[in-house]
């Protein structure tokens, strides 16, 4: 093997032609069967690109139809009246609600999910860790509407105590003041979203932590590090990009979550400073709640708001890919 690769200067006649041939074979231009098969598989790849382009094009087309007739400012109006003439609607409330609820969800879910992942890989007794991972895998598959039903009928009534306590001690900040309404607010949505994205973030982080190089960990242990120091110095740095990508996956799901938010939130079209008082809305929730009563123009307006959601999720996903790609280059622990 070594000899043939080094002797390219004085070649036996074979290397050049085989390379060309393998290239041709890779293109599948030799036999009709190959050509058909390559055409099919390449065609389905191209179909995916076409669908993506079509999504962008058609959403933009319908959205411009709606926005061109919008009497208010599409970005800043605090109103969603599409059934009247002239129609007035804007996405300010939705954008705020989507961002706030996702931030709350991330703040709650990421530390807990990372802890659970560490628990499964480094703390739990081995007999426990297997079944628990399995159960968390299954929980990731629970449909969001079931989370929504559970959130609306079980979680909401149980949050009165927490909300009262937050109001008592942190009400002065304004963010946690509460007027004793049903706890169907942004914070509730955030908590429910956190519970929903927990299994996904945990799953991905767990896989990453499991791959952390054992040599580094044993070296740290041999130097007298405690278990926490091992994790802080060798496992977490190795897993950082994985945790980031896991969080971005969770964030993507939180941003686009529809039914769970629609069942739990009692929406209105105002921006509330308090996270505890009911009100506000998110893009996806607004689409689901307003769709039933919307006429054709109203549907176009909803499509316009969906387009914004689409762009936001694209940006989040793109950012995640960039971060991962960059971290990969610097991560020394690829072995």
């Amino acid at each position: 093997m070594d000899i043939t690769t080094k002797n390219t200067e004085a070649p036996p006649p074979s290397p050049q032609p085989t390379e060309a041939e393998s290239k041709r074979a890779a293109r599948g231009a030799t036999r009709p069967g190959d050509r058909i098969f390559l055409g099919l598989s390449r065609g389905s790849g191209i179909l995916l690109l076409v669908v993506m382009a079509a999504i962008a094009v058609f959403l933009t087309y319908r959205a411009t139809l709606a926005i061109s007739k919008d009497h208010g400012n599409f970005l800043t109006t605090l109103e969603w009246n599409t059934g009247v003439n002239p129609p007035t609607f804007g996405i300010a409330v939705l954008a705020y609600g989507t961002v706030i609820s996702s931030i709350i969800a991330m703040v709650i879910a990421v530390p807990i999910a990372v802890s659970i992942a560490l628990f499964l890989t480094h703390y739990a007794p081995r007999r426990l860790s297997g079944p628990i991972s399995y159960v968390i895998d299954l929980l990731a598959a629970v449909p969001s509407i079931v989370y929504g039903l559970w959130g609306a009928l079980i979680l909401v009534p149980n949050l009165n105590g927490l909300f009262g306590w937050l109001n008592d001690y942190f009400g002065w900040t304004g963010f946690f003041s509460w007027d004793e309404g049903a706890p169907r607010s942004m914070l509730t949505v955030g908590i429910l979203l956190a519970i929903m994205i927990l299994p996904i973030i945990t799953n991905v982080s767990r896989e990453v932590f499991r791959q952390a190089p054992l040599m580094h960990q044993e070296a740290a242990l041999a130097l007298g590090a405690t278990r926490w120091e091992v994790i802080r110095m060798s496992v977490l740095p190795f897993g950082r990009s994985g945790v980031i990508s896991a969080s971005m996956l969770g964030l993507g799901r939180a941003l686009g979550e529809t039914m769970a938010v629609a069942t739990v939130l009692s929406p209105d079209f105002l921006i509330h400073l308090s996270l505890l008082n009911p009100g506000g809305g998110t893009f996806a929730q607004n689409i689901a709640s307003k769709f039933g009563e919307a006429n054709e123009f109203g549907r176009d307006a909803l499509i316009a708001s969906g387009l914004v959601l689409f762009v936001i999720t694209l940006l989040v996903n793109g950012a995640a890919r960039l971060i991962i790609a960059r971290r990969k280059e610097y991560s020394g622990a690829n072995a």
Binding site: S115, L155, R227, L255, L309, N317
Partner: protein
């Protein structure tokens, strides 16, 4: 003081003093007792607050005692350990509650009658009725979506792994990643925009199209991983015997990885079976049985749950039906998951050597 007494107190100079193994349990028990006492004295009646106080006491106690006996580094280690345990227990509570309530409330009305009757003559606020129409709708929509998405997904993955070099493959990889992140409601809106242009009424197949868009990237990703696991020696052996590449893929590569591919497809089915938003926008829901996915509104299980919850104005009968439908849906998804994992284990590709 004799030398022997000193060594008895400190068995090894290398390890330093350490707390006994049972100390975390003791501290936990102590903090729970103190928290309960505090709660009783201060008149706090919320169990959650008792738990929180106990947790804080436990953390503080652990840190204090360990720092005194074992030193700061060990104390930090113990804090990290207990935080990780606390996080785990904290997360278990809602997840267990979710599964428990679904099962406990779901079995109330779940019986053969419920599975074989529709909501045709039953008002939402009355007891009775069932999910037969929703099951039919779900099976047809998800089935059609799978028929579209599975071949496209597998072929795309074959293209990426077996043929793909250069710009097109990179673009496809990138956009598969992007498609994975599309919210389900946006996929629904896309098909809706087409339906608005062609002035169509809601029907089952429109939902299938949106579900297929959501399913394809999942299938591509998992199939890609599986194809990459097929040892190159197998491909080379087949090609060296003069077998054309397409036959190599069909007869060698795919059979080797078929278990994993099936698993991926089943997991993707499990994912789209629970999607509500696109179905809400495109299939609209129906109280009656509609067996034809190509004409007229249909029902589907997730949408049925939502409508029972949202349109019933708090009637208990409707909530019972919603829970029972949730249990059916979860059971369906879980069985698919378990089957998929079983197949994965049974048909796992044998490693190269």
């Amino acid at each position: 003081m004799s030398h022997a007494a000193v060594t008895e107190e400190r068995p090894s100079t290398l390890r330093g003093a350490s707390l006994p193994v049972w100390s975390p349990w003791a501290i936990a028990a102590g903090s729970v007792v103190v928290a309960v006492l505090l709660g009783l004295v201060a008149g706090i009646d919320s169990r959650v607050q008792w738990g929180l106080i106990a947790g804080l006491l436990f953390l503080a106690g652990t840190y204090g005692i360990a720092a005194k006996v074992e030193g700061r580094r060990q104390a930090k280690d113990r804090i990290a350990t207990s935080l990780v345990w606390v996080a785990f227990l904290l997360a278990v509570v809602p997840l267990v509650s979710l599964v428990w309530t679904t099962v406990a409330r779901g079995v109330k009305v779940l019986d053969l009658y419920f599975l074989t009757h529709s909501m045709g003559i039953v008002a939402d606020s009355q007891p009775g009725g069932g999910i037969y129409h929703a099951i039919i709708g779900s099976l047809e929509q998800v089935g059609l979506a799978t028929l579209m998405a599975a071949p496209i997904g597998v072929l795309t993955a074959i293209y990426l792994v077996e043929y793909g070099r250069g710009g097109l493959a990179r673009a496809v990889t990138f956009f598969v990643d992007v498609m994975t992140g599309i919210p389900s409601v946006v996929a629904g809106l896309f098909i809706l925009s087409l339906m608005l242009i062609f002035e169509m009424e809601p029907f089952g197949f429109a939902g299938s199209l949106a579900l297929a868009i959501l399913m394809v990237p999942v299938v591509v990703r998992s199939t890609e991983e599986m194809l990459k696991l097929v040892p190159n020696e197998l491909r080379e052996a087949s090609l060296a015997l003069g077998v054309p590449k397409w036959r190599t893929i069909l007869k060698v590569v795919l059979p080797t990885s078929i278990g994993g591919i099936t698993t991926g497809i089943m997991l993707a089915i499990a994912r789209i079976a629970g999607e509500t938003a696109p179905v809400l926008l495109l299939v609209f829901g129906n109280r009656f049985i509609n067996n034809n996915p190509f004409e007229g509104a249909q029902q589907s299980l997730p949408l049925y749950i939502y409508q029972q919850y949202a349109n019933s104005a708090g009637a208990n009968a409707a909530y019972d039906r919603a829970w029972a439908a949730s249990l059916t849906l979860i059971a369906f998804v879980m069985i698919l998951n378990l089957l998929a994992r079983g197949i994965a284990r049974w048909k796992a590709p044998k490693s190269g050597r």
